[in-house]
């Protein structure tokens, strides 16, 4: 496995995440995908973070930032070609030492996941009710009658009214909004302590998107389960998440409370992302055909391997040192951290 140079020094100056003692603590989490004949490309590079019980953490990043790899690592679902190192401590136990059967006891019961495409995450040949019951069956020894009642209860909890119809339906008979709720009810069935949601609103229109966010927030309040909400759209985190973790090229580049990060972003990447946000005020003066604000360039595989700051190639504020050295993490104020040499500018 690749040695992650430059990171171990910075770990000492790491800003302590708020909310400790954590529900989930990741230290030096590194994931590499080995591909035949080629040097393995790192997807996560020495990530540290803590999740406190009951909080909502937004993970913000574009494709290639490693946010989906992060989600899969937390559920132990990485493909066999992936090498994982570091530690991932959940309620005092290091998940990375778990074997498959120990993982099975955690997945769905203590840590659950909501997927991006609810239509695809349900079996097409099994009734929706049975699929929720399967989750309960995997983790609890109860009679099937009792289980059915529980499924109906959990369907009602996610705001579905026609419980009978939905219980008996197949996934292709449900609407997009219903599917999203069914997917959430599967995750909720065993009352997990942590739900990982990987872009659950990406394919939804505005109304359904808002509904889903409200539902997740309500779930979080009612059952006190922590939520990791992965997205590429900072607009969804405002008024929803407590904290935001900004990821770029497999690293955490900025972290802090949503309100403070959004008001005064420190990392140039965060600044750029927030400027992209469409807010209707800015259209008033816009003429037809005028360009939209952009964050120039794209995230490439080379950025992951760069010895310097991985954002340097796209950064407008870069200096000489950015190309040669990865910026150590600093904590400019309590509860915040950022990896940038020039964050103060």
């Amino acid at each position: 496995m690749r040695t992650v140079s430059g990171y171990s020094e910075s770990a000492t100056t790491r800003a302590q995440s708020p909310g400790a003692p954590g529900l989930l603590c990741a230290r030096e989490l590194t994931v590499c995908y080995a591909s035949r004949g080629e040097p393995s490309s790192p997807a996560l590079l020495g990530i540290d973070f803590d999740i406190a019980p009951g909080e909502i953490v937004g993970v913000l990043g574009e494709s290639g930032s490693g946010k989906s790899t992060l989600a899969l690592s937390i559920l132990g679902l990485l493909p066999e070609s992936a090498d994982i190192a570091g530690s991932l401590v959940f309620e005092g136990k290091d998940l990375l030492r778990f074997d498959e059967s120990a993982w099975r006891g955690i997945r769905g019961a203590r840590i659950a996941m909501v997927f991006q495409e609810p239509g695809l995450s349900l079996s097409p040949v099994m009734r929706v009710g049975s699929q929720i019951a399967e989750v309960l069956r995997a983790h609890r020894q109860e009679g099937s009658n009792h289980r059915k009642l529980q499924v109906e209860a959990v369907l009602a909890e996610v705001g579905l009214t026609q419980v009978d119809r939905i219980y008996k339906a197949y996934s292709h008979q449900l609407s997009g909004g219903e599917l999203q709720r069914v997917a959430l009810s599967q995750a909720l069935a065993c009352r997990p302590d942590l739900i990982v949601a990987d872009e659950p609103t990406r394919s939804l229109d505005g109304t359904r998107q808002k509904e889903m966010l409200d539902l997740l927030r309500e779930t979080n309040r009612k059952f006190g389960c922590a939520l990791i909400f992965i997205t590429h759209n900072p607009g969804l985190l405002a008024g929803f998440a407590d904290r935001v973790i900004v990821m770029y090229a497999g690293r955490i580049v900025e972290e802090g409370p949503v309100s403070r990060v959004f008001r005064r972003p420190l990392h140039p990447y965060t600044k750029g992302l927030l400027q992209l946000m469409p807010t209707s005020l800015q259209y008033a003066g816009r003429t037809r055909g005028q360009h939209l604000p952009v964050l120039p360039g794209t995230l490439t595989d080379d950025d992951h391997l760069s010895p310097g700051c991985s954002f340097a190639s796209r950064c407008s504020a870069r200096t000489q040192v950015c190309q040669t050295e990865f910026p150590a993490e600093v904590a400019p104020e309590k509860g915040r951290r950022v990896s940038c040499f020039n964050y103060e500018n």
Partner: protein
């Protein structure tokens, strides 16, 4: 009209089409059953001509087809010149023997291929998967003729199994149980040949179907919910793979039927294969047509079974996906 009714009507139309084609090609080919007699100096040309008109061979094609259809409707399925009896009585026994062999072979092939395909899919890329792939590649490249000959050779050398036929001499004198054992021992070689010949394709298709489902997002999701092991396999993976596999079942029934004709000839199994061969050589047209029709019928029935299975197993087909 519902699905099943439509399928039955399609099947009947297909059979009618096959009969017309068979009849046309069988009759239009040069020569007929009585041509050989012309070479015999002891039979006068007048006798041959009389025989030909007696069997109606000198009449025009549409008329002969009409008479054949009439005899089909009477339940005779035409008349065999060689055996001098209605085709039906000939065919029923032979078709029964073929059906016994192919049903057994299909059943066995699936019973072996299904766990093998599922196992190799689950162990993708490991040594046992590679071994399985190598084995199926090897079997795939050996024609069934060779498999049959090798098995026959082994049977003759070891005297462990009878090397041909369906029953031993003196079969009638045996008790019920001994009769069954005798029949079974005769079945081993033709059935094993058919199973070995169809196994590689089945295993590969099953492996591919299961692999595809294993990579589907809903299987990943089920794993994320803590469902794994046998439960994941039997509740999620196999039911979803049933859709392509039931189509494969229809195809495999058809494939085994056509394969069995050759294997029957080699191993001396008294099914439709040897009958068809003899009848073709002797230009016994009605027998040829009858045999072809019977195997077409089996094939249509096989794919119909597969389609009905598909409807039963897959709610997307059953309920219509909206």
């Amino acid at each position: 009209m519902n699905y099943l009714e439509r399928r039955v009507i399609h099947g009947v139309l297909l059979l009618a089409g096959v009969s017309v084609l068979c009849f046309a090609f069988g009759v239009m080919a040069p020569g007929d059953f009585f041509d050989e007699m012309k070479l015999n100096p002891q039979i006068s040309p007048a006798t041959v001509a009389a025989l030909r008109s007696q069997y109606g061979i000198d009449q025009p094609l549409p008329l002969r087809y009409g008479r054949w259809v009439e005899s089909v409707l009477r339940g005779e399925w035409g008349y065999s010149f060689a055996y001098n009896c209605p085709v039906r009585s000939l065919l029923m026994v032979r078709a029964g023997n073929t059906l016994l062999l192919t049903t057994l072979a299909t059943l066995l092939a699936w019973l072996i291929a299904l766990p093998l395909g599922v196992w190799t899919a689950n162990r993708r890329g490991r040594w046992d998967d590679r071994l399985g792939l190598a084995g199926t590649t090897l079997l795939l490249s050996v024609p069934e003729l060779v498999i049959a000959l090798v098995l026959l050779y082994l049977a003759v050398r070891t005297h462990a199994l009878p090397a041909g036929g369906m029953v031993s001499v003196g079969f009638g004198g045996l008790g019920k149980q001994a009769q069954l054992i005798d029949l079974a021992s005769h079945l081993v070689i033709p059935a094993a040949t058919l199973v070995l010949a169809s196994l590689p394709l089945l295993v590969r298709h099953i492996r591919a179907s299961v692999l595809e489902v294993l990579q589907a997002p809903f299987v990943q999701a089920a794993r994320a919910h803590g469902i794994g092991g046998a439960r994941l396999l039997f509740r999620y993976v196999l039911p979803a793979a049933a859709n392509p596999l039931s189509s494969l079942l229809g195809l495999s029934i058809g494939g085994l039927l056509s394969g069995s004709l050759l294997v029957e000839v080699i191993t001396g199994w008294p099914g439709m294969g040897p009958l068809l061969l003899e009848a073709s050589l002797a230009r016994d047209v009605h027998v040829v047509i009858g045999a072809v029709m019977a195997s077409t019928f089996f094939m249509i029935a096989g794919s119909m079974v597969a389609d009905v299975l598909l409807v039963v197993l897959d709610p997307r087909v059953r309920l219509g996906s909206t």
